[in-house]
């Protein structure tokens, strides 16, 4: 097949390089400077792991990181569960009354300014007299990210041929079984993608988290944000590099997992 691949022209190469540089140069610089030995962010003082060391001894920062990761994991899982159910309801359910309204309301967080979502959630939590902290942020992030999961899963569902489910029913599955045995295995990649999207959205959210979090339970982005206001410490670069590495690992693992699942689909089929 190699001979059918179009050769890159000089123009294509240049534009590709420029595009990639635009996207990744800032990140590359950040990563390089995270290994800077100098205390000054903009002055290169040789290679060092000093700031990584500093971060792993920074209790407050570590707690914020742990808080962020657990909020992201829990809220992404909840959002995936609810978002998938909503997508199935919208794509497969009978045309119920108020369906258009439901789908419109479901998607409103996509376009709603985050400040408004955050403020309204804060007002709700205050009105409910809920103690603000881990769970309030998690709930807020779930409501924010659920619609993204729904969008991803619903588009996969509507691309899926309805007759597959009908064939399953024709061959002896009740509707629930048909969903579990045929539809679900086919939308798993979308569900995984939805989870990852929700996870990363939650991980980097500042606005909603800052409205809904309480004292002593700052997430990593909030912590970083408040540190940066006092002046950029090279430690921040180290933290950001770790976050980038984490996200890169998640993406690689997820793409391997989806490849693996499609390759051994035969043995993965439920008996």
């Amino acid at each position: 097949m190699a001979h059918t691949v179009t050769r890159l022209t000089r123009f294509n190469m240049t534009s590709l390089a420029l595009g990639l540089a635009f996207l990744y140069l800032p990140i590359v610089i950040l990563v390089i400077y995270s290994f800077n030995a100098s205390r000054l962010v903009t002055v290169w003082g040789g290679w060092s792991l000093r700031w990584y060391h500093e971060f792993f001894n920074d209790r407050a920062m570590l707690e914020a990181a742990w808080m962020s990761l657990s909020v992201a994991a829990v809220s992404a899982t909840l959002a995936t569960l609810l978002g998938t159910l909503a997508a199935v309801g919208l794509a497969r359910g009978e045309r119920f009354r108020g369906r258009a309204l439901f789908s419109g309301m479901l998607y409103s967080p996509l376009v709603m300014p985050e400040v408004i979502s955050g403020l309204s959630l804060l007002l709700l939590f205050v009105a409910l007299n809920a103690e603000r902290g881990f769970w309030t942020v998690t709930i807020a992030h779930t409501t924010l990210t659920m619609c993204f999961v729904t969008v991803v899963v619903q588009s996969r569902l509507s691309a899926l041929d309805r007759s597959l489910e009908e064939a399953a029913m024709d061959l002896g599955c009740d509707p629930v079984r048909a969903f579990l045995m045929v539809t679900l295995p086919l939308i798993v990649p979308a569900i995984v993608a939805g989870w990852m999207l929700a996870f990363t959205l939650s991980l980097d959210d500042v606005v909603i988290a800052s409205f809904t979090t309480g004292p002593g339970s700052a997430t990593l982005p909030i912590r970083i944000y408040s540190e940066v206001r006092l002046g950029v410490k090279p430690e921040i670069n180290a933290i950001c590099t770790l976050v980038i590495a984490l996200i890169a690992v998640i993406i690689v693992v997820a793409s391997f997992a989806s490849k693996l699942s499609s390759a051994r689909g035969e043995s993965a089929a439920p008996l």
Binding site: D161, S163, M169, A178, L186, G265, E266
Partner: protein
Amino acid sequence: MPLLRIEGVAKSFGNFRAVDKLSLDIRAGEFFALLGPSGCGKTTLLRMLAGFETPDEGRILLGGSDIAQVLPHERPVNMMFQNYALFPHLSVRDNIAFGLKRAGMARKDIATRVAEMVALVKLEGLEKRKPDQLSGGQRQRVALARSLARRPQVLLLDEPLAALDKKLRESTQGELMELQRRLGMTFIIVTHDQEEAMTMAGRIGVMDAGRLVQVATPRNLYEAPASRWIAEFVGDINLFNGQVTARDRGRLTVSTTEAGTLAVSELWPPVTKEAVSVAIRPEKVKLSRRAPASDAGASQPINRLEGVVIDVNYLGGITSYRVKLETGAVVRSSMANTARLDVDAYLAGQRVVAWFTADDCLVLEQ
């Protein structure tokens, strides 16, 4: 008692009446085709037999019991889908075994049955492939094997060959017929392709606007269509409108404006109206340079129409001609190319006589 009895079944979608009080009996072991233009309700009827749609009224009796309200997974009926609907995440073997596992068959029996089905549709060696690693024809076979594996009482086929190219379609038609005979199973096929219906089915039900307009063998459908609409829908036909002017022992004289006076044999049941259409299939219209011999020697009257060839289409097996009469009407004629070198072929612009016997004509009410 027929195997399948459809009794006054009706189904509407909103204001659209897809199937309109339709009744039909299908015998065990029959190869039945539902033929009709798109939107005539044939697929809706098939989906009601499969259980994907519920009739608004009427009964569907399978072996004497009403299954109209029975859910798809509880019916002893299987369907082969138009786009095959193979499960993309399962191998050929698991696709075929899918319905058997659901039926709670023992693992050993499933393996035997799958092997039997794979051999039946000649897919040996491909059991471990995924649907996307198969050609169109192979996918069609997997879909067939999967729908046959449960040994349904009735197999429903929704345009099963529509996605195949012409050559493959023709050979698959033969294989389907052979399979149906061998298994002695009842097949109901939905198609918009009349040639396909004629080739495969023992009986054809023609549908139009949610109703069955004729149920007949392929031959009767073609040679004795029940209405003008069917005559025009099934195959090509020449039609001349006219008035019956004389009736004599099953022979009618029809006076038409386009083709003059025609002698026509009457079918059973006889037409009751005076305004009729005379219909002749193109292959029954012969062309010759001179008018054929007088009626004296022939057992039946011959109709002769003089005109000029305006169009010659060579199609390999046959050549179809269009002949313009003096009245301006056009008669289509098709003649088999029985010789490789035909020095007598007609050319455009040539004066010819188009002729046909009274028995070759159909008389239909307008």
